[in-house]
């Protein structure tokens, strides 16, 4: 496969910065970019939680501890009393199974660090700051676990705050669909697509991911399609890979 259109930064990071406070600050700065989309989504989740009868404290606890927008949205949709515990756990697993793959993809960047440097950032990562961390590590050739942690931290606080605010003041917001808020995450990832797309090696993973996700979404109940699409697409990337000699 011809990799000549790719900058050198596409190779594994040339150096590992470990965990630096400069990285935490940098991550916090760049992690703020998706914050407005996160806040809008958090407001919508808060509105739904309030409609489903959760208290504001329960909402805040859920946001801080479960800490996953898609999983919270999906589990709140099936939230009824008495609580369908098994279905709720399965929904969270289905929605968050993609994190198994996303965190696996961080191993080449942070695998050589001591656990107390790598795991805090991995434990609080979300889709957006995960993508930004990988993009920056590829761009600068420097993998800093501080960046992962800092960018995660600035998403954690607005997430808990905005879901609580949505719960308390959501009735003034109206229907989130009308404001296009349900489109926020898709819009953010559409903008990220441009930065990750490489003509030489992204076509197969992209097409396979789309086809598998669309098919699984139609055929399998629950949000398993995200995991299935990401797994199939990334494996297509491995399959299409040709070792350079």
């Amino acid at each position: 496969m011809n990799d000549s259109d790719e900058p050198a930064a596409q190779a594994l990071p040339a150096s590992w910065a470990g965990f630096t406070w400069a990285g935490v600050v940098d991550g916090a700065r760049l992690g703020l970019v998706p914050a407005p989309t996160l806040i809008a989504f958090g407001l919508a989740v808060g509105v739904l939680a309030s409609a489903k009868g959760l208290s504001a404290m329960e909402m805040a606890l859920m946001s801080a501890w479960v800490y996953a927008g898609g999983a919270q949205m999906a589990s709140l949709q099936i939230w009824t009393e008495p609580l369908p515990v098994f279905a709720l756990v399965l929904t969270v697993l289905a929605m968050n199974a993609r994190y198994i793959l996303l965190s696996a993809a961080l191993r080449p960047y942070f695998g050589m660090l001591p656990w107390w440097q790598a795991y805090p950032g991995v434990a609080i990562m979300g889709d957006a700051n995960w993508a930004i961390t990988i993009r920056e590590a590829n761009r600068t050739g420097l993998a800093d676990a501080g960046f992962l942690f800092g960018s995660g931290l600035v998403m954690f606080i607005p997430w808990v705050g905005s879901t609580a605010a949505g719960h308390l003041f959501g009735q003034f917001l109206g229907d989130p669909r009308r404001l296009g808020i349900d489109f926020m995450l898709a819009a953010f990832f559409a903008t990220m697509a441009l930065g990750f797309f490489r003509a030489s090696r992204s076509v197969a993973p992209l097409i396979v991911a789309i086809v598998v996700a669309v098919a699984v979404e139609k055929l399998v109940p629950g949000p398993w399609y995200l995991f299935a699409g990401a797994l199939a697409g990334s494996l297509a990337g491995a399959w299409a890979h040709v070792d350079k000699t």
């Binding site: 479960v66 965190s103 696996a104 990562m125 489109f183 953010f188 990337g237």
Partner: protein, 101 residues
């Protein structure tokens, strides 16, 4: 305004499921050697996730969603600013939905 015990227990369980997903991939890769092919697999992850997220949005959506996705990519191309791209796209989706309602 309080936390009911049964809700607390369920949220505890959901959070453990969430945390297990985040930590397990990173942990398990400890036992996998990063060969060039494994590296290619992991490197394809961002674009694969983006495809898996956007594919169903595009297929299940209509004109507002299609124009929204095009706006996000277009604005990103011209401004190199994710925030502008995402907000612009949502504005287009909201306006189109209002226009078509």
């Amino acid at each position: 305004m309080s936390i009911r015990p049964e809700v607390f227990h369920v949220i505890l369980l959901l959070g453990l499921a969430s945390l297990a997903c985040r930590l397990s991939g990173f942990f398990l890769m400890r036992y996998v050697a990063i060969t060039p092919r494994v590296d290619a697999w992991l490197r394809a992850m961002p674009i694969a996730l983006i495809g898996a997220l956007l594919g169903p949005v595009a297929v299940n959506g209509g004109l507002p969603e299609w124009l929204g996705l095009a706006t996000a990519v277009g604005l990103m191309y011209w401004t190199a600013n994710e925030f502008a791209g995402a907000i612009g796209a949502c504005a287009v989706v909201a306006l189109m939905r209002a226009a078509m309602a």
